[in-house]
């Protein structure tokens, strides 16, 4: 017996649980403005999230998947993306999309049950929300193929949950990205749960990062509660993608501090102790503590920041609530570039339909 291949999985963290610096900070993190910007975004995301849950509870929003406690993952990712890159989200995200120019009101529209929430008015190319778990990494690989064919120095970023990493499509996407050397970064937001199924039951792999080994490229595990680490590793992976057409898998380790969605009840399966332990690692307080320790932030500033975020969210909510529904014909009018004649009669039937009693 001889050993013919060896592999390692690295782990990255800059700010630990106690907000102590445990590794030399990357360049961007030495700029207070950049850190403050990330902090404000995380506060905005958390504020918005709480509001969305409240809207759902009062019947003003549909089923909604919270990002509470996962702010660093999405804010860090979004911050690392270049404008010319393309983002392929799943369904759980605010922080990235926000930085892509998606309006909070669009976000609400989507979860309010309106396709226009996918129009992403500020962006032409990003993919819409994707519900079928694990299916969207293939779209990212396809876009990356287009970039490569056209010799564009652009990268694609896509994100999946830990549950999503069990789907065959996830693996097929990694495999083709490795085989074709595609400029794509696969993020797994490992929040430890896929609805009620814990990460430990999802796979026997010790890390999700090591799944990249099956596809012949490198995977890294990153502290997903450390926004500096997220921002840094995603940026590095995107750069490697743009410059060397090398794919990367990044496992961002975080925790889902809420029910899976508002339709879920995590008390049925989640040990309360675990959530409490995990809360000590959560990303917003961690960065705030660091900023305060370094005299970059005060309680007063924090209060103002929260107020500003609350105001911004309120405005979005008002805009959302005042958005009139789409016209009925929208049900037919985006199916094809031009609606085939055979469906015209059905479209007429629709337009003549009374508002049903149970509506």
């Amino acid at each position: 017996m001889e050993v013919i291949a060896r592999f390692e999985v690295p782990y990255y963290q800059y700010l630990n649980e106690e907000s102590a610096v445990v590794a030399p900070l990357p360049e961007f993190a030495k700029d207070p403005e950049q850190l403050l910007h990330l902090y404000r975004l995380m506060v905005l995301v958390r504020t918005f999230d709480a509001k969305a849950i409240a809207l759902q509870r009062t019947g003003k929003l549909g089923t909604y998947p919270s990002t509470r406690g996962q702010e660093a993952v999405f804010v860090g990712m979004g911050n690392a993306l270049a404008k010319t890159d393309i983002y392929v989200p799943y369904y759980r995200d605010i922080g990235t999309l926000l930085q892509r120019g998606v309006k909070l009101s669009e976000y609400l529209l989507y979860w309010g049950g309106d396709e226009r929430g996918n129009v992403f008015s500020a962006d032409k190319d990003d993919f819409p929300f994707s519900v079928p778990v694990g299916s969207q990494p293939l779209h990212a690989a396809g876009i990356a193929t287009a970039f490569k064919i056209r010799h564009q120095k652009r990268a694609v970023l896509t994100v999946t949950g830990d549950g999503g990493s069990s789907e065959g499509d996830f693996y097929e996407a990694l495999n083709v990205a490795g085989s074709w050397q595609l400029p794509v970064v696969f993020v797994v937001s490992n929040n430890q749960w896929a609805i009620s199924v814990p990460r430990s039951a999802q796979t026997a792999a010790q890390t999700i990062a090591q799944k990249a080994i099956a596809a012949g490229f490198s995977g890294e595990q990153v502290d997903g509660n450390d926004v500096i680490a997220v921002r840094d590793r995603v940026a590095a992976a995107l750069q490697k993608a743009r410059e060397k057409n090398e794919p990367t898998l990044l496992e961002l380790v975080c925790y889902r501090h809420h029910d899976h969605t508002t339709a879920d009840d995590a008390t049925r399966y989640e040990p309360q102790e675990i959530r409490e332990i995990e809360w000590k690692k959560e990303p917003v307080a961690r960065l705030r503590r660091y900023l305060e320790n370094n005299k970059l932030w005060t309680e007063e500033q924090d209060k103002k920041c929260h107020e500003a975020c609350a105001a911004e969210v309120e405005e979005a909510v008002t805009e959302y609530l005042n958005t009139p529904p789409q016209p009925l014909e929208s049900i037919f009018d985006y199916l094809y570039a031009r609606l085939p004649d055979i469906y015209a009669e059905q479209r007429e039937t629709l337009l003549k339909k009374e508002v049903p009693a149970h509506g």
Binding site: G113, Q326, P356
Partner: protein, 326 residues
């Protein structure tokens, strides 16, 4: 005896049969501790343990594929797909293997699985939670497709499906999960597969429907009765193989037929029923068979989905049309 919902009837049937048959294995995403996202498997883990009630990793093709393997070993997997919109990754396993193992091996290996999934729209869920693509399965030789529309039929038909020696696609109308309640004795009595249920006897027109559309169909029959039109109402229940004889006998009597389904119109199961009536019943038709169906569109998101769904009013109009045909 407390009345139970369709959802509770599913749970009751699963619990009953698992108690009787140790070969039954329930598996799927979130079916164990969580009892399923709709709670259809609630309590089974406690009663039957984690060997027999199994959360799977998140992978639908896998769920179907391992069920097939288990079934050939004499186990009876009852696998849940969380929503019908997530069954597609498993279609290859279902169409190319589950439906064919018996035929491929000339009966040496068999595949007695039940693939359960909530289906249909109208519960204000996100995209992909609203599918009704039963026609795809109905087109596939080797499968059975069963859809209950009341708590009693859910109980009796699920028991029958589990006991059936061949693969069954068992689709549960999520819109009816908690809609109405009924006393369903937990007596382990199965209802017959492969037959339609005549829910209401009538003389003027035959209404043929299944799944959640039975709600609007029965309501329409009520309304029509007030207008003096006597509608016979048939719940198809087993979509494949189709009990066309019961439908034909009814249409022979009434001379008129309206078929109602939620799925898109084109190549829906309604087309096949209509075609069969055309082939065998042309001589006794007093009016063209009408279909009242979902549109040939993607089910709109929650805000507009109610406009997708065929309405009681549309059924009544269709009946009025066939009544007035001359």
């Amino acid at each position: 005896m407390a009345d139970i919902s369709l959802l509770e009837a599913i749970t009751q049937a699963l619990a009953y049969e698992m108690g009787v048959d140790p070969n039954i294995i329930v598996l799927g995403e979130d079916v164990a501790k969580n009892g399923g996202v709709f709670r259809a498997t609630l309590g089974l883990l406690d009663k039957f343990g984690s060997e027999r009630v199994r959360d799977t990793p998140l992978a639908e093709s896998m769920i179907a594929g391992i069920s097939i393997g288990m079934a050939t070993q004499g186990l009876k997997p009852v696998a849940e797909f969380q929503f019908m919109g997530f069954i597609y990754p498993a279609l290859d396993q279902i169409i190319n293997h589950a439906a064919r193992i018996r035929n491929r091996t000339r009966g040496r290996l068999t595949c007695p699985v039940v693939f359960r999934a909530p289906y249909g729209c109208g519960i204000r869920a996100p995209e992909h939670h609203s599918e009704s693509t039963e026609a795809m399965f109905a087109h596939t030789p080797g499968l059975r497709v069963v859809i209950p529309s009341s708590p009693a039929r859910a109980y009796g038909l699920l028991l029958a499906s589990i006991r059936d020696p061949d693969p069954v696609i068992f689709l549960e109308p999520s819109r009816l999960y908690r809609w109405s309640k009924q006393d369903v004795p937990d007596d382990g009595k199965a209802l017959p597969l492969d037959v339609c249920f005549t829910l209401r006897v009538g003389t003027d027109v035959t209404l043929v429907a299944w799944g959640a559309m039975m709600k609007e169909t029965l309501a329409a029959a009520d309304a029509l009765a007030k207008e003096g039109i006597s509608a016979e109402v048939i719940d198809v229940a087993t979509i494949k193989p189709l009990d066309i004889d019961t439908i034909l006998a009814s249409v022979e009597k009434t001379g008129r037929c309206v078929i109602i389904h939620e799925a898109p119109r084109t190549c829906g199961v309604g087309a096949d029923i209509s075609a069969q009536i055309a082939e065998r019943g042309l001589m006794f038709l007093k009016a063209p068979v009408q279909r009242v169906t979902g549109f040939d569109t993607i089910v709109p998101y929650a805000r507009l989905e109610k406009f997708y769904l065929p309405s009681e009013q549309q059924i009544i109009e269709a009946v009025n049309n066939v009544m007035e045909f001359a």
